[in-house]
Symmetry: C2
Subunit: 347 residues, 2 copies
């Protein structure tokens, strides 16, 4: 192989690579490495090019002991990230190969898991403390007070029910993630699912003085709204959206579930089925939209908890829609209600 | 570079690599790739060597569109794992470079997180269901029954307290993981910590009819047991071990906390401080030992819950000991009690 061929071959490897010769000068460096170190340093002494202390330490380990050295370092610039570097001696050459592995995502996943645990714990801590307080009061000071007992037990039931929903939502989310790469294989009508959900939440809407409307384009068969889906999961997302609309958009007095067909949806390169859940409530600042599907993110934490919300409903919707290769969009503005849209490829 | 030099350079890259020439024959293959595919196929057509369908598909994608192709495949043999393969065209050559990235650990981390969420949810589900049931009964059938109320409230308090401990343990574990790479910098005496813990658990031991003993080698200063540590974390692990010994080894009637010095501990290449927590209770089958520090693993789930255990205590001990660069060992046999040993490098 010519040096040009070797260089081209190294450039076709996605990891940054730096080959150091026996003279401690850089013999080769692929395009990814030049990008990472912002310099093409062929022919120069390695220490003048790779100035990161962790990288230099890994090289020292090889020079001292002729064994692979590893280190971990952070790039603090626009391509911020964490890299694991291995320095491995090159056989019969006296030099070594440095290869860099991007472990940013792995580190990020660990951080996300810890944040998740912290969030779940805090979500549970408050209602548990309240429950323990009420139990203590009922066993002591309010032991003989029937009125206080009724009041406390009512609040306790609400708190315990919300914790129970939180646990159910955690399990749902976990199950959805497990299936996220499996494409659903059942053909079903989004129109029928919307009908089932509307019947199920009718009592809740009545209690909140909200008129529920289900709108479909005229003259279409139920099967026109067929998608490939998981029935339980699709029912759950429509339920989550309609319940949210009733809880947070009740002041508008009506919630509309609208089904429509998109003949040619660019993102699918084909036809799509669209479901909008529209409320005429207070709406919210669109600044929240990008973060609304994050776990435990809420526009108004106090209000969400008051309503028994777990902070996981829209995260579940996002994951289920993603499993169905669909799109999920949110639109809102203060005073203008909110529209939550699911778009799925037509079957 | 000579072909030998190129081969040696590729062998010094930790990822498996296969270079395919314009003639679709394998031009180079590093040692890691030969190991992965169990064949050194230089000069042969790629399809006769790389028979994995996912890998062949990735290559096809490049051949059809001249763009990088990626795939993910599983090796089902002794080196079972998940690999992400990228096929990238080699500039001016007509061939391509295949590089394989081991994503087994990343996939495993995702699975562990989901298992963790499932476990936490199940741990909470049972006591929550019980609480909700009691609340309902207290609001309905048992509304006027003072005796039932007292009994139920007592159980409810126990369940809520256990959930509260579970949440606290989850937060502890999360905090310990966050600090696991930071070496503790405070010098403190394990002897003093053991003394503090013994005083704190004395009432619990008395209630369980257990005699607590703190034994130290004669004639040694408190500072002889100095280690570099985090005071809260070290106190927590000693507390966890002593509480466990009282809870599960009470039938033995005594629990001994023994402090000793190891002049030359091979694992540290230096002196160590050892703390044993010894009970004379029923003990357990040593078959459980390797899994005891896993989250939510229990020798006897029912009994652990009865005792208010969260299933996280020993996982916390393991992580804290690991942060302190120490060793944690467990010994037991049915009928012979149990010994839990912490060994830390002496300061």
């Amino acid at each position: 192989m010519s040096p040009e061929q070797t260089a081209a071959a190294l450039d076709a490897i996605p990891q940054p690579l730096v080959l150091i010769g026996a003279d401690m000068r850089i013999a080769a460096m692929n395009a990814r490495a030049s990008e990472l170190f912002r310099v093409a340093g062929i022919g120069r002494h390695y220490a003048t090019v790779l100035r990161n202390p962790a990288v230099l330490d890994a090289i020292d380990a090889v020079l001292k002991g002729d064994r692979p050295g590893t280190a971990r370092f952070y790039t603090g610039d626009s391509r911020e990230g964490t890299w694991r570097v291995s320095a491995i001696p090159v056989r019969g050459d006296g030099g070594m190969m440095l290869s860099f592995e991007d472990v940013t995502d792995v580190e990020h996943a660990g951080q996300m898991r810890r944040d998740f645990v912290t969030n779940v714990s805090h979500e549970l801590k408050t209602p548990l403390t309240a429950l323990l307080g009420f139990i203590e009061t009922l066993r002591g000071p309010a032991r003989e007070d029937a009125a206080a007992r009724d009041r406390f037990l009512e609040i306790m039931e609400k708190e315990a029910a919300r914790m129970n929903r939180l646990v159910s939502d955690l399990l749902s989310l976990s199950r959805v993630e497990t299936t996220e790469r499996l494409r659903p294989t059942e053909k079903l009508s989004l129109r029928e699912i919307a009908g089932t959900v509307v019947n199920a939440v009718r009592p809740m809407a009545d209690a909140a003085d909200v008129v529920l409307r289900l709108e479909t384009e005229e003259g279409l068969e139920t099967s026109a709204f067929d998608v490939m889906g998981d029935p339980d999961q699709l029912q759950q997302i429509v339920l989550n959206l309609v319940e949210n609309a009733i809880k947070y958009g009740a002041s508008g007095g009506e919630v509309t579930i609208r089904l429509s067909l998109r003949e040619r949806e660019a993102v699918f390169r084909g036809p799509g089925v669209q479901l909008d859940v529209i409320d005429k409530g207070e709406g919210f600042d669109p600044i929240h939209i990008p973060r609304l599907t994050e776990r435990f993110y809420r526009v108004d934490t106090h209000r969400s908890r008051e309503q028994g919300g777990t902070g996981l409903g829209l995260a579940i919707v996002k994951h289920i829609v993603s499993r169905h290769r669909g799109r999920f969009r949110i639109e809102s503005a203060p005073g203008e209600g909110a529209t939550f849209t699911i778009l799925l490829p037509a079957a």
